[in-house]
Symmetry: C2
DNA sequence: TTGAAAGCGGTACCAT
DNA sequence: ATGGTACCGCTTTCAA
């Protein structure tokens, strides 16, 4: 393997000059530059990244910490890798499998200067512990952290849910059921608030029989429809789902039960994933890729101490065939 | 930031000794070790990974090259990250978005010693070009490469398809339709071969009307069922799908069209993804995580020049409610 | 058991 | 425009 020294020796210049050529410094004569360049080519030379990292004190690598990778975070991951690479940063994935100790590794790697910054997708450790690593480098989070130094790019679900409700009511639906996700999460809480507010505003009926929690999967969505059909006298005319998977399950089951969608039952999903698209389910578009971009921009802000323009995050309703 | 020198000075020993403590060398007296350890703790010292990488000439980082991340490669990615981290290796994701030039970056990074090894998930560049990077470090591929130095952990789809066909025939189905994926891929070719062989063996009817290509999505699966129903007089009694998404689409559409599954129409998916599980679709289990492990083992083999035990890869049939 | 010093392969400041 | 050289922080060989 050839190195700077060798190139310098062969070209008859000093390491410093060769380094200048490498870094496109203007203070090198064209002649010298050409000569050095041609020798580099001849020797098939490429600079060693470790040496650069050590010398510069930065690696151009950003870590992503998560319990595991699933469908929901795919757009985030893709979006982040994409924007980061545009700025010359690589992305390292750290999965913890929910193990608190293992989850600390990316944070230790921030400290050991293996990565320049960190983004948290999900975490199980005590937020204040994670926060203590902020002194080693910038950290942002997708999930809400409620820690002063760790900003989050998550969105307030109130708005999204409000949008869906508004759409249903405009369409004339007024007996609206809900399939919520994690019972005690901030997201669910905000969605519930939106529901209560909207129902109050329009003086609409709210039945506890129409409210479900811990609904996540296609299967769960099917079950919700079956549960609703237990009370034929008290059926809702629309159902707002925790995510598109739940909506897909609800849709399949409704059809199986001879319910016409959207005439008998309207269905709205959440996140506007591929699934909603392929199955034609009305859904709330969640700009996840934009959140990933913002996560990167927020890091860049601290990394380069520069101004950045954040993407404006906005839910939007994508109407398809289920409403 | 404290470094080896500082620790050494404070402890009254040399850098070498401190380094020995760091690397658990047995040639350090317990007393010395304790003293140094306590000073490290006191100063909250951690070694700098870049310095280690530079000095050792390896980074303990492995790159994964792909056009983009989607559901299909998720189990592979997860499996790889998991096994790699068990051996102390981190995983860096490189996405090319199908851009040939951008796809070269992980390979250049192998050359520049940013990563110790590389795994290719999908690639668009000329395989022989990629192969030329093998001299810089170990490379394995998930997709078939047909290059001597790049071994692949992909599986022969013939076996899997054979399994599905055998199952259907045992169950008494004998008018079997196929929804294939990419028309000219090796995978599709092998599946077609399995189909031809099996049909020949049992002297079963083969109708060109029962064969579809370029079928990938839920939507595509729905369309296949509609197309089949165009010829009511010549309906198959089973359909073997390119993947679980297609099977899911076929299932939904069949039910919508009042076909009883599996009585009127049996449906078999492929890959045994989450979707097949949640929707109760019979599917061929594709041991993707095991392939990811093998990919890592194959790299380790070259990295450490050691013996490794590969996982045995085997398709298996998971029967559910659609057959 | 411990130390001295030569790498590893660059960057960047200070001279000239 | 170019050179000299002190870093960056750790590993490893050779001696003692």
């Amino acid at each position: 393997m050839s190195n700077l020294d060798l190139i310098a020796k062969m070209a008859g210049f000093s390491k410093a000059t060769v380094s200048r050529v490498l870094n496109q410094s203007p203070h090198v004569s064209q002649e010298t530059r050409n000569k050095i360049l041609s020798i580099m080519k001849e020797l098939d030379y490429v600079p060693n990244r470790n040496a650069i990292s050590l010398s510069k004190g930065q690696t151009m690598q950003i870590g992503i910490s998560t319990e595991g990778i699933n469908n929901l975070m795919l757009p985030f991951l893709n979006g982040f890798v994409e924007i980061a690479s545009q700025y010359g940063y690589q992305t390292i994935i750290y999965t913890s499998g929910g193990d608190a100790k293992k989850e600390l590794q990316p944070f230790e790697d921030l400290r050991r200067k293996r990565v320049d910054a960190l983004v948290i997708i999900t975490s199980v450790n005590d937020p204040s512990l994670l926060r203590s690593y902020c002194k080693y480098g910038p950290i942002v989070s997708w999930q809400r952290m409620d820690q002063p130094d760790i900003s989050s790019v998550a969105m307030d679900q109130y708005e999204g849910y409000w949008l869906a409700l508004e759409h249903l009511i405009e369409k004339g639906y007024n007996r609206i059921a809900n399939a919520f996700g994690r019972p005690n999460s901030i997201n669910t809480h905000n969605r519930m608030r939106a529901y209560a507010d909207m129902m109050g505003k329009h003086h609409l009926t709210v039945s506890p029989k129409w409210s479900f929690s811990s609904v996540y999967t296609i299967r769960d969505g099917e079950q919700v429809v079956r549960d609703l059909l237990e009370h034929k006298d008290d059926l809702p005319d629309a159902i707002l789902c925790a995510n598109d998977y739940v909506a897909a399950g609800a849709l399949c089951e409704a059809r199986r039960q001879q319910l016409k969608v959207p005439e008998d039952l309207a269905i709205v999903g959440f996140d506007n994933t591929e699934l909603a698209h392929t199955m034609g389910i009305t859904s709330i578009h969640n700009p996840i890729a934009a959140q990933a971009q913002n996560a990167f921009y927020l890091l860049l802000l601290q990394l380069l101490d520069t101004e950045v323009e954040l993407e404006i995050l906005q839910f939007s309703l994508i109407q398809r065939f289920t409403t």
